[in-house]
Symmetry: C2
Subunit: 206 residues, 2 copies
């Protein structure tokens, strides 16, 4: 027996966004339509337009929700060695890309291809993931060993952590398309080792 | 006094392509037009259409020529230590991106954004740059120390060299947009060190 629960408009909107995000796991952003969501959620198109003004607003809201989910699921554990925390975060990222390949790769493509809305959301999400590495390293006096290297927040280290993110994104998307016999544990190990590797040539601050 | 030199059709086409590539240093691929090239080269649109069937063919030919130029100028010196050869190749790459920012960044955007023609040319160029690292390392018996790490051609090492290329591209484009006080020598040093860094977690082959 199903009980219909009365939801507030905010709760209803959240529920519809969750439906949209689920659709994004198997569809690109461009494929995502109000019609598709109406069918999936079992409500009228008119009501959907009430919640999301137009297709652009709908896309933006769903992609932002998906980006927030990604930031949430990849939050590293609060405790543990830096290497373990990074590995846990990386594993969550890889699992997310595997489970949401269509939507995620279309976000990356759309952002790179010049869609200003997608670009903004994408850059914010990448910025949040990058900041986290500096925050994790900066517990205490802002200088802390991450995986055996010292990470000081300078323009040069920002540049290389950003580069490591780009590497991780490219490698994980390529691996999901074709693992070529590389196991997930090996993938995680290689990517984790590549972070101190990317930072190894960063000059010490003056 | 200018002497008019009679050129073969192939030579004339090459000369027009060189004009197109020059335009690409300050214009995106989308901005590049037959009209613009006609004006730059001082010949009629009709003659240009004789050499390049339509706008798509023109774009493809110019972008391919630009990619060939990139592969050419970044060829590492035939001799020297691996680190020196890599540094020379990286410096040529950075200089190329600085000198051709508009066209190069539009190629990267267009390829990522799903333009199939640009994507193919871009992937071929990146593949050539990546292959070069394995060829340089593979002199002799296919196993050779590059910058202190052993580089064996496996799917795992291919994945990480590919990732290092993605990192290099992202970091250099970001640096050209905003160096944030990072000097070119420091940039080159960081990117060179990041290659063995990216490979440091690659498992030894069975």
């Amino acid at each position: 027996m199903t009980t219909r629960v009365r939801m507030t408009p905010d709760e209803r909107r959240e529920q519809l966004l969750a439906h949209g995000v689920r659709l994004l796991s198997t569809h690109s952003v461009d494929e995502l339509s109000i019609d598709m969501l109406a069918e999936e959620a079992g409500i009228s198109r008119g009501l959907l337009y009430h919640y999301f003004g137009n297709k652009q607003d709908f896309h933006r809201a769903v992609v932002r929700k998906a980006a927030d989910d990604l930031i949430g699921v990849t939050a590293p554990p609060a405790t543990g060695e830096p290497l373990e925390r990074l590995a846990a975060s990386l594993e969550a990222y890889v699992d997310y890309v595997v489970a949401n390949y269509e939507g995620y790769s279309s976000l990356v493509r759309g952002a790179a291809g010049g869609n200003a809305d997608l670009r903004r959301i994408y850059e914010e999400a990448r910025g949040a993931l990058t900041d986290r590495i500096f925050v994790a390293a900066g517990d205490g006096d802002g200088v802390d060993p991450v995986l055996g290297v010292t990470l000081v927040d300078t323009p040069a280290s920002r540049l290389m952590v950003r580069g490591w993110s780009a590497m991780t994104e490219d490698v994980v998307l390529a691996w999901v398309r074709d693992p070529a016999g590389v196991s997930k544990p090996d993938l995680l190990l290689m990517l984790a080792a590549a972070l101190p590797g990317a930072l190894s040539g960063v000059p010490a601050p003056d």
